[in-house]
Amino acid sequence: MNPLTYEKATSSADALERHDGDAAKFLGAGTNLVDLMREGIATPTRLIDVTGLAQGIEEQSDGGLRIGAGVSNTAVADDTTIRAEYPALSRAILAGASAQIRNMATVGGNILQRTRCSYFYDVAGSRCNKRTPGEGCDAIGGFNRAHGILGVSDSCIATHPSDMSVALSLYDAVINVEGDQGTRSIPINDFYVLPGDTPDIENQLNPGELIVSVDLPAPSANRRATYRKVRDRASYAFALVSVAGSLIIEDGLVVDAGISLGGVAPKPWRATEAEAAIVGSPPIEETFRNAAQIALADATTQPGNVFKTELAQRVIVAVLQDLAGDAQ
C-alpha cells in the first residue's frame, strides 16, 4: 500500500497548485472518499483538504445565488433564501442523509459522490466495469432492485445516489470549476456523463479540476417546487425513486414545468420531453399521467427493478398533483 500524505489547501489556487496528478485527491468532508479508500476503490497517495474553502452563499446581481463548494449540506438546507426560493433543494438535502452526515458533507462532494452499487463496492467478489473497465457487470442479471432504468447501458446500470443534485438539476444549476486551464462553468444537466461503454467516466471534470461553486439562476416568480423521495424506511436510506418537480400555472394552464428524477439513472435525470408535454395544458391528473408516461418511455429494466418504472411515474404524478393542488 502506498503511503498517504495529507495537506490542507489555503485557497483554490493553492489546491490546484498542489494537485500533481492522478494520485492526488481533493478531500472534502470525506463522507464518501474515506469509505472508498477503506474499500480499496480509491487509492490516492496525496489528500488535499479543500474543506474551509469556498464557504459562502452569496446573492448574485442577476438575482441568483452562488453557493460555495465547501458549504455544508446543512448550511444549504437551512439557508433562509434557499428555503424560501429554492424549496426543493432544501427538501432534497433534508431527505438525503442523516443530520451527522449533512453537517459534514459539502456541496462539491455531494455532486461528486460515487454510486452505492454493491457490486462496485465488492472489490474481491464481483465484476464491475466502473471500477475495473472492461471486466463486466455483475449487477446486470444480479440483485438490482436499487439500480437504474434510464440512461443505463450494457456496461453499467448503477445510479447516482445524490438527492441534492436532483434538486440542483431541477433548478438548472451551473457548476463552476477551476483548473490548470482556468475556470469554466458547466450546467449540471450537462455535467454528468452517461456510462455508455466507459462507466468509469462519470462527469466532465478533467483531472485536477476543482468544483469551486454552484450557481442557482434567479428564482422564477410563482414557481412552486418540491421534492419527494420513496425509500424502504423513514430516514437515511437511498432513494428507490425521488422526484424534484416544479410548476408555474397561469390562468389555469401550466406555463412552465420541471421534472428531475433521482434513484433511476446514472445522473439526476431531467425529463425534458415530459416537461414540454405539460406546458400549455391544464394542471390536471391526465396531463401529469401523460407526462409521466413520456418520462419513463425509454426505461430499460431488469427483473429486480422493473417496479421502478411505475413507481417513478406515480411519484411524478403525485408530486405534480400536490404542486397543482397547492396552486389552487
Binding site: M1, Y6, G30, M104, A237, V315
Partner: protein
Amino acid sequence: MMDKNSRLSLTAFTLNGQMVEVDAPPGERLSHSLRERLGARDVKIGCNAGDCGACTVLVDGAPLCACLMATQQAMGKVVETVSGLAADDPDAKALADSFQAHQAAQCGICTPGMMVSAVALLRDSPQPDATQVADALSGVLCRCTGYRKIIDAVVAAHIPGLEAPADGSVGSPIPRIDGAAKIAGAERFGDDIAPPDALVLRVIRAPHDHADFTFGDLSGFARSHGLATILTAQDVPGRNRFGVIPGFEDQPVFAEGRARFRGEAVAALIGPAEAVTALDMTVLPITWAALPAAMTCDAAMAALPLHPDRGETNEMCRGFVQCGHAESALAEADVVAKGLFETGFVEHAYIEPEAGFAEVHDRQVVVHACTQAPGMDREALAAILAQPLDQIRIVPTAVGGGFGSKLDLSVQPFLALAALKTRRAVRIAYGRVESMQSSTKRHPARMQVKIGARKDGRLSGMAFDGDFNTGAYASWGPTVSNRVPIHASGPYRISDYRAKARGIYTNGPPAGAFRGFGVPQAAIAQESLFDDLAAQLGMDPLEFRILNALDNDTPTVTGQVFEGGVGIKVCLEALRPAWQAAHAESGRTGDPAIRRGVGVAAGWYGCGNTSLPNPSTIKAGIRPDGTIVLHQGAMDIGQGANTVIAQIFAQAMGVTMADLTLIGGDTQVTPDAGKTSASRQTFVSGNAAKLSGETLRAQLLALVNAGPEAQIVVSDGQISITDGGQMHMPDLRALPVDGEGYSLAASETYDPPTLPLDENGQGSPYAQFGYAAHLAVVDVDTRLGTVTPVRLVAAHDVGRAINPLLVEGQVHGGVAQGLGMALMEEYIPGRTENLHDYLIPTIGDVPPIETLIIEEPDPHGPFGAKGLGEHALIPTAPAILNAISRATGVRIRQVPATPARVRAALKEAGYA
C-alpha cells in the same frame, strides 16, 4: 514524500476541554485517533461508514460521524465526546438522568451517539418536541430500544427531579443498575479493553458463496509484511470444527480448501497494528476458484451435498409434531385457508461488531470478548485447542447487543489460537461488513400451511410444512427445526395437527439463533391464515382468536397440559379496547390513496431448551467484612439480567439491591448460568438466584438462630439481623473462609422440568411458555405501496414483571425488530452487507408503542415470572401484515413487505 516522523503530521485540537496533540497517519479516521491514540473509548465504532452514528462527536458544536472525518481535519477545532459532556455539560447531565429514568439505554453501545446528538439538539432547542428529537437523532441506529424511550428521555430532559427510583424489590421499576455507566460512556465493550501493545488479528474471508482455494507462500508473505504469524486450518491443534448442538459440530474455524459461504474464514493474519493496517489485501497469496452455489432450499435439495460426510443430501435435520388427524379434520372443515409464505435472511445488526482480545497467563488462555454464552464458548474452545477446560478462561465484556448471534463462536477461536501461538496479547474487532458476512442470521423460511375451521369458529385441522435455510453450517438450525413444529400452531387449541420442518444446508451464511428461533416465521404464516379464516367465517379476527385460544388444562399440540399460567386469552382480551378504537378509524383517511388498517396477531414461546437439560447455577457469598457478593453469570446483553437477577436474589435473601456487589460471568470465578437465549434467564437463572438467595439467607439466620421471618439489614457493611424484636450482629470474621474468601457461600442450580418428545413430538418440551398479542395500525399508500405504522399495542403475559421498566424495554425492542422484519429487512450475501444497504428501522420508523403487562403467574417461575425476550418480536410482523390486509384487502405472503412488493400485490388486486 513526507518523513513519517515529521511534526507536520501532528494534529492539535481541544478534546473535552483539554488541548491534545495526536500524531496520526494522514487520513486516519478521527474515531480511530480518539479511541486508540487518545484513549477516548467512549467513542463507539459500529460501522466505520457513517451509517450507524455510534461514533457521533461534537466538532465545534456540530454532531458529526467521527469515523468519516480525517483526524487532520480536526486541527484547531473543539471536539466533545460523551464522557466529557456527561462530566461537565449541564444539558448532558440532565439528559443522562433522563436517559436513566426512562431506560433509554439498553445494551449501551449506541448510547454515546444518541447522547451526543441529543446534547447538540438541546443546546439549540432546550424543550424539543418528539418530531425534533426524531429528526436530530435520525442518524443514530439503535437495535435494542425501539427508540421510543430515547425520544421520551430527550423530550423530558428539561424536567428536573424525575421520580425517585423504586426500592428494587421484585415488581419495582428500578432503572438498570449498569445504566449510568453506559450513558456516561464508561461501559467497556469487546473492543474497549485490549492492552495497548496487543497484536492485531485480521481474518481472511472467502469472497465467493462457494469456492475452492489454495494458499501460496504464506510464511514468506508474513515475513515480508512484518507480520507475527498467519494461522490456517493447519494451526488448529484440536478439532477444527465447532457448533452449538451436540452432533452438529460442522463449522471449521478455518475452512480447509473449500469455503462454503461468502465470508467464511480461511486464515488469520497477526501482527503489530501498523503492519496489519498497512496490508494490501489484494496481494494475499490465495487463489480462488469459484464453484456453483446453491442459495435456496430448493436449489440445495437438487445440488450435491455441502457436507458429504454428514449425509447424501443437503437435508440437515427434521422436526415433527403430530396429534389427532390433521388431514381428515381439514377435510371436514367448513372453511380452509392455505398459502405459501416466505421470509428471507434477517441480520441481527447489533451495533457492536464482534470484538475482544486474548492473552496467555500461566499456561491459561484468557479470552475477553462480547458473548451471550461464556460457558459454551469455553467448552467449544477446549475442543478446538485440545486443552482441558481449566486452562481456558472466558471473561465476558459488556455486550453491545446480541439477539442470538453472539451465542455462537466468532472472534474467540482466532484470538485464543493466536495468543497461544504468539504468546502475546492479540485483539480484533470485526468490521461491519465482516460481522454481517460471517455472523449467523435468522433462517429464511418457505412454509406451506393449511388451516381449517368449522362454522362455529372452532379450528379444525392444521398442516404445516416448512423448509428452513440453515446456510452452510448447522449452528442452531436443529433447534429451529425442533421448535417450529411445536410452536407453529400458535397459542391455540388445535386437536388435529401435523407439522414438519426441515433444516437445509445451502451456500448462504450460517443461520442460527435470532429472537424466536424460527417461531416468528411460522407465526407469520399461521396468524395470516387465521385472519383469512375469520374473514371466510364472517367473524371478528380478535374474537376468533379468543375463541380458539389455549387455556389452563387445555392440551397443546404436543399434548402438554398446564394447570396454570396460560395467559394468551387475557392478552387477547386486553387488546379489545384498542381494537374497537382502531376500527373507528379504519378504512379511508384524509387522502383517498392512503388506507388505514388495524391488525392483530398472537404468539407464544417456550422458555428454555426444548426437552433438554438446561441448568443455571448462581453463586453468592458473604465476605468477612459483610460484603454480599452475587456471582451473576447470566449474560446481560442489554435485556437487563444484571438488574433482574439481582432483584430476584435480593428479594429472596431479604436484602436490598444496594447491599449487593456483582461479579460477572468470568468462567474462573462464576458458575455457569447457561446461555442468554430462549428467554431463559429470568426464568431459569432467576430461579437459581432465588434458591441461592434463600440458601444464603438461611445460613445467615442460622448463625444467630433467627426464625424465617427475621429481617436482615446491611448498614455500613455491617450485617444485623432483627428477629422478634431482638437484634443480632453475626460475627462473620469469626467464621472460617472458603477458598474464595467467603465466610458464607451458597451455590444453587435450577433445571426446568421437561419431558422428552416421542416420535410424534408428544411430550412436555418446556416447563413454561410466555404469551403475547399485538395490535398494529398502519397506513398504506395504495399508489406507491409504502406502509407507515401508526401505532402498536403489545400485550404480554410475563407471569410476574420482576421489573416493569425492563419489561417495557424488551417489548419495545422486540416490536421494532418485528417491524423491521415485516417491512424492510432482508440480508442478501454480497449485496446487503452494510447498514446502508441492509436497512433496520430508524428512529422515524417506530411509531408509539403501548405496552400492556399481563401477570398470570407461572407455577415454575421465580415469583411467578416468565421469560419475555423472544415473545416481544413474534406477533409484530403478522400483526402488521394483517393490518395491511385489512386496510387494502391484499394479503402479503412474503416479507419484507417493501413498497415494490406491496405495490405489485395491490396492482394484482386491481388497485389503480
